[in-house]
Amino acid sequence: MNELKKSFQDGAFIPYIVAGDPDYKKSLEIAKKIIDAGADALEIGIPFTDPAADGPTIQKAYARSLNNGFKVKQIYQYIKEIRKYSDIPIILLTYYNIVYNQGIENFYQKTEKIGVNGVIIADMPPEESKQVTKKIKDKKINQIFLVAPTTTEKRIKTISEKGSGFIYVVSRLGVTGKRKNFQETTKKLIKKVKSNTDLPVAVGFGITKPSHVKKARKAGADGVIVGSAIVDKIEKNKKNQQITQYIKKMKQKI
């Protein structure tokens, strides 16, 4: 069975960090701590200069990483080092130009080889995915697509067919970033997606508090992705221990 799908069996808590944030070495340490704290899968961002889907927190993380010298080609080494440590499912998130520039074939070949389980391209909707899906047809790697509050049921079905691994539900209209409340509309959206797909459903964008995790799970989400809330702690230079504690608290509610 698909390793990535399996991680959703009892609910998946999926933290997101940016490779190279604040620098290569520290971000590797943080990744390991997050794994130790009980993450069920790990989502890793490859920085891009122009992340139009991201709010200020993640924009700044990308900038920190790039300013501290992170190079896209270092991602392969970075993943390899995590793989030496753990076999946790790994999902890469980046923007189309980064993948295109690496060469689509080359990127997927290398990432598959080092054991990446899934890829999300934030600015690649299914209508622009032909070249990618063609290249990964006989690879083990999963291409994950997003569903938003504005996505029609018909599109959800298409996305479900084109994608694999899981469906990433964008909880609200907007960009990534922390927020206070878990909205009623998000619950409805999760239900709508669940009734139109057999894939696991993970919800992200704005998940910040343990109560959000609980509500997302109650609404039927199989997994929860937390990015800005963690990256924010990295920005504020919080001790790794605090990140660990936060992850444990969030994970409890899965």
Binding site: A52, A63, Y96, F145, T152, L173
Partner: protein, 377 residues
């Protein structure tokens, strides 16, 4: 297949897709209705000041040894071709029942033109402008505010035009329901490049008629500057099928996406962009803020590939010389952007004959550039 062969597309986060689909559908439905066409014609004529003249320049003609005409978009209300697009899109937004428009701006010309259209048509207007540009274009910021728009400073990235586009996209996705994103050039995800091109193509249509009236034939060459590429497509489109007319697009040497870029995706479309060998977007540097952008409209990338339009560059110094020349010889202060098109004249001098007709798209006036030019004296 994308809109322009392999170029174009909708490389945007999923939440924006529905808004692009809606825009495309509404645009196709509305654009040919009698009401819309009549209102647009009326606004272009009574408010914007169309048609703009096609001015024969005797002194430039004598100097460069051919017949030189200037298409006077500098005389359009607001001082640049930008209003053709903003009036069109603002009217479209109105027909789509949107209450609000948002836009990015670099030099502030598109911001001003958007604010004008917003004021004229009663739409709440917000402009996103990089911190760098706010500093160097204070007068345009003040103009936008006078026109009733709110100007938001963007501090992310390089705090320039490309970052203002990012911020506009981020803002749009939060308020898709009641807001239209009024993009300023033939860039961005589909259907924007097509919509902006259609609204700007009035330039070429007028030019064709005017040159036929004056010369009884079509021109031999047309030259325009290329930032995102809207004034250039605007004048070229009508002549694309006339294969013997030489079309030249002039980019700024410090931000020449076609001449020096590689294929990739920036701001939602597949086109040529200035990027590092890692796929990160490069910083650009041009004296003309309106050309200071690392991408270019996808339709231009296609015409480059088809060799239908010839793309070349002019550097800051060449543009400044052309700027001064036109000011002194013709009594017209051209925008630094447009000066890049003028800077092509000395370079073609050896190739042209007395009877050759050359049209320059004078995309804007240069009042906004007076300070910048002075810095280089």
């Amino acid at each position: 297949m994308r809109e322009f062969s392999k170029y174009g597309g909708k490389f945007v986060p999923e939440p924006i897709i529905s808004a692009l689909d809606e825009l495309e559908e509404e645009y196709e439905n509305i654009k040919n209705t009698k009401d819309f066409k009549k209102e647009l014609d009326q606004l272009l004529k009574e408010y914007a000041g169309r048609p703009t003249p096609l001015t024969y320049s005797k002194k430039l003609s004598d100097k460069f040894g051919c017949k030189i005409y200037l298409k006077r978009e500098d005389l359009l209300h607001g001082g640049a071709h930008k209003l053709n697009n903003t009036i069109g899109q603002a009217l479209l937004a109105k027909h789509m029942d949107k209450d609000k428009i948002i836009a990015e701006t670099g030099a502030g010309q598109h911001g001003v033109a958007t604010s004008m259209a917003g004021a004229k048509l009663g739409l709440e207007t917000e402009i996103y402008m990089g911190h760098e540009d706010v500093q160097r274009q204070k007068m345009n910021v003040r103009r936008m505010e006078l026109l009733g728009a709110k100007v938001n400073e963007v501090t992310s990235g390089e705090a320039k035009l490309k970052d203002a586009v990012n911020e506009s996209l981020r803002t749009w996705v939060k308020q898709l329901e009641d807001t239209h994103y009024l993009i300023g050039s033939v860039v961005g995800p589909s259907p924007f490049p097509k919509i902006v091109r259609d609204f700007q193509s009035v330039i070429g249509k007028e030019t064709k008629k005017q040159i036929q009236e004056k010369e009884g034939k079509l021109p031999d060459r047309i030259i325009a500057c290329v930032g995102g590429g809207s004034n250039a497509i605007g004048i070229f489109k009508e002549f694309i099928e006339e294969k013997n007319i030489k079309l030249t697009g002039v980019e700024a040497a410090g931000s020449a996406s076609i001449s020096k870029g590689l294929e990739g995706v920036l701001h939602g479309s597949f086109s040529k962009i200035l990027q590092t060998d890692e796929g990160q977007i490069k910083e650009t540097e041009s004296i003309a803020a309106g050309l200071d952008y690392p991408g270019v409209g996808p339709e231009h990338s296609l015409y480059d590939e088809l060799n239908r339009i010839n793309y070349t560059t002019a550097n800051d110094k060449e543009a400044l010389q052309a700027h001064k020349l036109l000011s002194k010889k013709e009594g017209i202060i051209p925008a630094l952007e447009s000066s890049h098109a003028l800077a092509q004249l000395p370079k073609i001098q050896k190739e042209v004959t007395r009877d050759d007709i050359v049209i320059i798209n004078l995309s804007g006036r240069g009042d906004k550039d007076v300070e910048e030019v002075q810095k280089h004296e």
